[in-house]
């Protein structure tokens, strides 16, 4: 018997297998912790979000639809837990829409797809060309897959500001990425 895949683990967790949860935790908690640390400096909130993530996985592993990367799904839950924690109050329903929404694909539009479909070095270069406040917006929405509402909470900005910054950022990114893409395909 080889090492179970992530989706096999989720299936076992849905059936109430505690050992499978431990295995999933061993595999994914580390990088989730690092990534959450990049989003929030408060280690207590981060630890809380990480714990909530795996509790949510335990309670709702059966809701994973089996599409895409489990890692992306986990990150979607984590970042939303962190947003809830930042909001200063826990999500009213511990099994709320967060979990289901988190299954929504990381990449949302043709533009976003373009963004992630190219070589990482190019994304990096393109992102670096953006001013810091636009970069943060792109990270929260495109990379973390948050809605503008959630991103606004994470960044502590009004929703309107997030929307307009995202618009500007996407225009700029497209401009700087297009040539690279043309040359490659």
């Amino acid at each position: 018997m080889g090492t179970p895949t992530d989706s096999e683990l989720l299936r076992d967790i849905a059936a109430g297998d505690e050992a499978a949860l431990r295995m999933l935790y061993e595999r994914h908690a580390g990088w989730l912790l690092l990534r959450l640390n990049r989003r929030c400096g408060n280690s207590e909130l981060v630890a809380g979000a990480l714990q909530d993530t795996f509790v949510a996985v335990w309670q709702s592993a059966g809701r994973w639809r089996g599409e895409g990367e489990v890692a992306a799904w986990l990150w979607g839950i984590s970042i939303r837990r962190l947003v809830s924690a930042l909001r200063g109050r826990p999500a009213a329903d511990p099994l709320g829409d967060d979990v289901v929404d988190a299954a929504s694909p990381l990449v949302q539009s043709a533009e976003d797809e373009l963004l992630l479909g190219v070589e990482y070095g190019d994304v990096g270069r393109a992102l670096r060309s953006l001013p810091p406040e636009l970069r943060a917006t792109v990270q929260a929405t495109v990379i973390d897959g948050l809605s503008t509402k959630e991103a606004a909470k994470l960044l502590g900005l009004p929703q309107g500001t997030v929307k307009s910054r995202l618009r500007v950022a996407k225009v700029r990114l497209r401009r700087s990425l297009m040539p690279a893409r043309d040359g490659r395909i």
Partner: protein, 273 residues
């Protein structure tokens, strides 16, 4: 993705330390999602002690059973969390509920089918017994872990009282509402309260000697005898007289005294020493 590009230890170290610029950082994060090898490397780079601590939290949060709603409700009214755990542990928790509801139902149906003359006697027979028997029913299930529980310092009297209060809290409203709603119940709607108290205390006292079945059976037999005697003498209304109520109060006090002696000297209800 399929470019053969992977995270170097140096890049990963800088990512973990948070010294990467946003661009490379995004690249690292996007790569981790799709590359199991680098995902493993990144996970291994996270602080172990934090991960262990969070895991303990996950273990506890996933293992913690939820309180049944009646207990959550009582907790909101001020029931201590530890007391709620005690009540949750008695698998008999649902038995008093079930007994009361079924008892009240049977009582209502059977009562309305009886001839009018017998209905009052019937109510007088059942109403005071229901709380007493409910209390006794709450005790039987302490048996499985009795041997174990007895060696713990927690006050067995407190366990007994918790169960009693809970059982009575369940049974009392049922009988009270029944008394007010049922058409054939008149002045007895409240007259049974003192007898109920007396019988409950009597049951508790007997529980310090006997099993729940024996205690409940004895109490039921005694009360049946009293009601039958009153009915034969056509003196049912006597229950509501000050003299009778005083007699019940005296009997209740007596039972309470014996119970107190039993508890302080040797036994608590349910056979605990």
């Amino acid at each position: 993705m399929a470019t053969g590009w992977h995270l170097s230890p140096e890049l990963l170290g800088r990512y973990a330390a948070g010294t990467l610029d946003l661009g490379p950082q995004a690249a690292v994060e996007a790569h981790i999602i799709v590359c199991p090898d680098c995902l493993g490397l990144a996970s291994a780079a996270a602080p172990r002690d934090t991960l262990d601590q969070v895991w303990q939290g996950v273990v506890t949060a996933t293992a913690r059973p939820t309180m049944p709603w009646p207990l959550r409700f009582l907790q909101r009214l001020g029931l201590a969390e530890t007391d709620a755990v005690i009540l949750r542990a008695s698998s008999s928790l649902y038995r008093p509920w079930l007994l009361s509801v079924v008892g009240a139902f049977v009582f209502g149906v059977a009562g309305s089918m009886l001839p009018a003359a017998e209905q009052r006697a019937f109510y007088l027979l059942i109403a005071p017994l229901l709380p007493a028997i409910t209390v006794a029913a709450a005790y039987d299930s302490t048996d499985p872990i009795r041997e174990l529980a007895v060696a713990t310092p927690y006050s067995k009297l407190r366990i007994a009282l918790l169960r009693t209060v809970f059982a009575v809290a369940v049974a009392l409203p049922v009988v009270l509402v029944g008394g007010l709603v049922l058409p054939f119940v008149g002045a007895e709607a409240f007259a049974w309260l003192l007898p109920a108290l007396t019988l409950t205390l009597l049951a508790l006292t007997l529980l310090t000697w006997w099993t729940a079945t024996a205690a409940a059976g004895t109490v039921a037999a005694v009360w049946l005898l009293v009601v039958v005697l009153l009915r034969t003498a056509d003196q049912l209304a006597a229950v509501d007289t000050p003299v009778a109520q005083l007699a019940f109060a005296t009997a209740a006090l007596l039972a309470l005294a014996v119970l107190t002696i039993r508890i302080t000297s040797y036994h608590a209800p349910g056979g605990y020493t």
